[in-house]
Amino acid sequence: MTRGLKLAYICVLLALLLAPLIVVTGVSLNGAQSLRFPPQDLSLKWYGALFHDREWLVPLMNSLIIASCAAALAVAIAAPLALYAWERGGLVARLLTGLGLAPFALPPVISALGFMIFWMTVGGYGQIWATIVSHGVFLVTLPLVTISLGLKATDRALIEAARVMGADRMTVLRTVIGPLLLPYVVSGYAFAFVLSLNEYIIAYMVAGFTVETLPIKIFNALRYGYTPILGVVSVIFAALAALVFGLIGRFGNLPRLMGAERVRDE
């Protein structure tokens, strides 16, 4: 099969993936409160509306607060875990790693119900910090995977070299391991951030009635009819995700992060 045909197959499927987003982008540009495609009397007024309407601003802020804190928490749990597993191996490390990977490998409704019952039992149900902690634990998997990949790519001789040259444990962490892992930590944070922003069911079951996040707000709005503002939010979400992953792709090695071992450079 020629390269052209391969590329064509890839492009057709990508086009199918992008089609709904293109329609939604078009819809968001409608002037009137209707969903038409192609859009009629083009206008950006719904974009302005989103940032002026308290009804949408509050969920937006909630989502941003939850995502930024939860991603930080996920990294804070994942980094020491990845370091420990890399350094020691053994049963404890494997068990902990499995525990870190489990929430993400299971259907999220399981974790969601678990968190809901937990927060109902210990208090915290309906609080924003409960959503943050729940998201943080749920998303540990992502930084755990990226940081572990970074450690796997780290030559242990670098650490031995630093030690022989006089660096103690903390100095090695500060001057060698830390800087080398930084790109992986950042991408792990970015992955967790984007996924937290888009996560629905855990946020809904833990605090859905009191702390509205953007996905919850969209779903609630859908019940009362579709408006172009929903298109605006979707466009912003897709653009934000593309921006974050685009940055990772630009400054990091995305194929490697996804597990490729050899990639042809141009």
């Binding site: 001789a157 670098l158 031995e160 630093a162 030690r163 040259m165 006089g166 660096a167 103690d168």
Partner: protein, 345 residues
């Protein structure tokens, strides 16, 4: 005075004995090569000296101080790793000045030291380069410079040149030796390349199975190997089973009387005769060992005749100018030059 003394050093990994009761003294300022096949314990010994492994038994003394309880980062050694272990997130000068930076040395001193060492390893002005911009040979030089940055008491190198291609490797061997001599730092290099050891070292320590087989100058090791393993490992040699009865050497059906210069390093009984290829003479069939040529290897600088004498393979090496007119399949007669024969246990 930084004499390095190893006393009764052993290292066990589980049930595996990687290093078996090794004792060596390395005088101040000497260049020592630990030489042996892979798995002989040479790298383990180096890592024990660096403090990267804990000895199971024994002591390591530098300048009379026992280092056994001193952690690696307080031993004040310089080390070059096989993978070089240059920090990819730092530039060349920052790599070289790393040991100074973590000791809190001021910026000006660090820059001056890096510049001085870059001159020493013939990379002047390269301090601002990133590691990935350097060639293999340049990385090698940076790693050496970094190992020397704190004026180490002992300079350790683990197969430092193994990643370089043959030509560059020989060049770096000479340069490394010159740097070491100019600084007079006690240096220990691990290598499996006997040529490298003979080129650089004041003292060669041949190891096998965690034990020291022989320690001596390159010429001692080459001309007076302590046993068959050393003879075979250092340079090429023909090893033949023989019998030494105290009067003569019985080998391949011949009795050879020892001549002046022959070394007998075995008690009477079964032994091994070692004769280097350059000491095997090849001639038309006559009174010597009857053999048949099976292969001719012409390397330009020398010609190797591989022959079979019964079941024994014997290689004779001659200079190209003195090449006898034999071809594969010809019957020849071999003799071992008197004074160059070594009987080993």
């Amino acid at each position: 005075m930084t004499e390095l003394r190893i006393e009764g050093l052993s290292k066990r990994f589980g049930t595996y004995l990687a290093l078996d009761d090794v004792s060596i003294t390395i005088p101040n300022g000497k260049f020592v090569c630990l030489l042996g096949p892979s798995g002989c314990g040479k790298t383990t010994l180096l890592r024990l000296i660096a403090g990267l492994e804990t000895p199971s038994e024994g002591r390591i003394l530098v300048g009379g101080t026992d280092l056994s309880a001193v952690p690696s980062h307080k031993r004040g050694m310089g080390m070059v790793f096989q993978s070089l272990a240059l920090f990819p997130h730092l530039d060349v000068a920052e790599n070289i000045a790393y040991p100074l930076a973590i000791r809190g040395t001021d910026r000006a001193t660090r820059q001056a030291t890096a510049a001085r060492l870059l001159d020493l390893v013939k990379l002047p002005g390269m301090g601002g380069r990133r590691i990935h911009q350097l060639s293999g040979g340049q990385r090698q030089r940076v790693a050496i410079a970094r190992g020397l940055a704190i004026d180490p008491k002992v300079f350790l190198l683990d197969e430092p040149l193994s990643a370089l291609d043959a030509g560059l490797r020989e060049h770096m061997q000479i340069e490394l030796r010159q740097i070491q001599q100019s600084l007079g730092v006690t240096t220990v290099v691990v290598t499996h390349d006997q040529k490298e050891a003979l080129t650089m070292a004041d003292l060669v320590i041949v190891m096998k199975d965690g034990k020291v087989q022989q320690a001596g100058t390159p010429m001692e090791i080459y001309h007076a190997p302590a046993n068959a393993f050393v003879a075979d490992f250092i340079g090429n040699t023909n090893l033949m089973p023989c019998r030494w009865d105290g009067q003569a050497i019985e080998v391949l059906g011949h009795r050879l009387a020892p001549a002046e210069g022959d070394r007998i390093a075995a008690a009477p009984g079964l032994a091994q005769l070692s004769v280097r290829p350059e000491h095997v003479e090849i001639a038309a069939p006559g009174t010597g060992f009857a053999a048949e040529i099976t292969f001719i290897r012409d390397l330009g600088e020398s010609v190797h005749f591989v022959t079979r004498c019964g079941a024994q393979v014997i290689t004779a090496q001659v200079a190209p100018g003195a090449r006898p007119p034999f071809g594969v399949g010809d019957a020849v007669s071999l003799s071992f030059r008197p004074g160059k024969r070594v009987v080993l246990a």
